[in-house]
Symmetry: C2
Subunit: 155 residues, 2 copies
């Protein structure tokens, strides 16, 4: 997503990296890592916005998700991206204005804020877009980089 131009943020690309559940975990992790690396090489983003760990009732699911998150964060770190993690409630709060918003409300606002013709699909891709929007919409503390560029502007 682009948010560096004046006006509304623009969706450049969204999607999901699918792996086969039958494959060994290590193969699936390598596919996810390679997929994220490719997207970074193609679009050269400066920020990775990622949902905080989802604690499902099934601990095994949460742990496998942790493995996947690990290789995604590794790829981002190796390419020098700033990494921002947001709990699900923070994403809902930023996009809808209500931390307890429904999935449908989030999808509605994602579609509207980006002036899309339809909800990004599949649903997991829409979740990723919501996380990216959160970085652009959420109030942030000034970073060292932004402070130094401001002080240069003030000279």
């Amino acid at each position: 997503m682009r948010g560096d131009r004046p006006g509304t943020p623009t969706l450049v690309e969204c999607g999901v990296i699918r792996t086969r559940a039958r494959e060994p975990l290590a193969c699936r992790l390598a596919e996810i890592y390679d997929g994220v690396q490719q997207i970074i090489a193609e679009h050269r983003p400066t920020v990775l916005s990622i949902e905080d760990v989802f604690y499902s009732r099934n601990v095994r699911t949460t742990v496998v998700l942790g493995h996947a998150r690990g290789v995604i964060m590794l790829a981002a770190q190796q390419s020098g991206l700033a990494i921002h993690e947001y709990p699900p409630a923070a994403i809902k709060k930023a996009v809808v204005g209500n931390g307890a918003a429904t999935k449908e409300q989030v999808q509605f606002m994602v579609t509207r804020l980006l002036r899309l013709k339809s909800v990004p699909s599949p649903a997991d891709a829409s979740d990723g877009v919501a996380a990216a929007l959160t970085f652009l919409l959420a109030p942030r503390l000034p970073t060292i980089a932004s402070l130094s560029s401001r002080s240069q502007v003030g000279r």
Copy 2:
């Protein structure tokens, strides 16, 4: 660890990769990944033996461990290592003969089986050595590679 020569397996190197808890998770994951890659490049092993996920009472700890395991498995996969995962009880069973063995019993047997002068230290390094020993000691189903080399020997 070397187990390809006749007689007892030999410990080549053991240790831990320490990261600072204060650093962002992504930095720590990159350090772990780089550390594992270095060890693989140096010793050129063919197998990664790794303890199955430890489900601690603190779910957060288990999930962070999942991130670390993810980047370790990724490094092994990228270097073409065969990956073997063992639950803690399988490691105790293989090394001590009892799946409910104590930590001290595992350390005693690790020291003895490898003819070491003292227990590998720190304790986490000793756990890694026990996992490696498990691969060498645990009865395994014949692999396609071992079957084909056997059939060549039989010609």
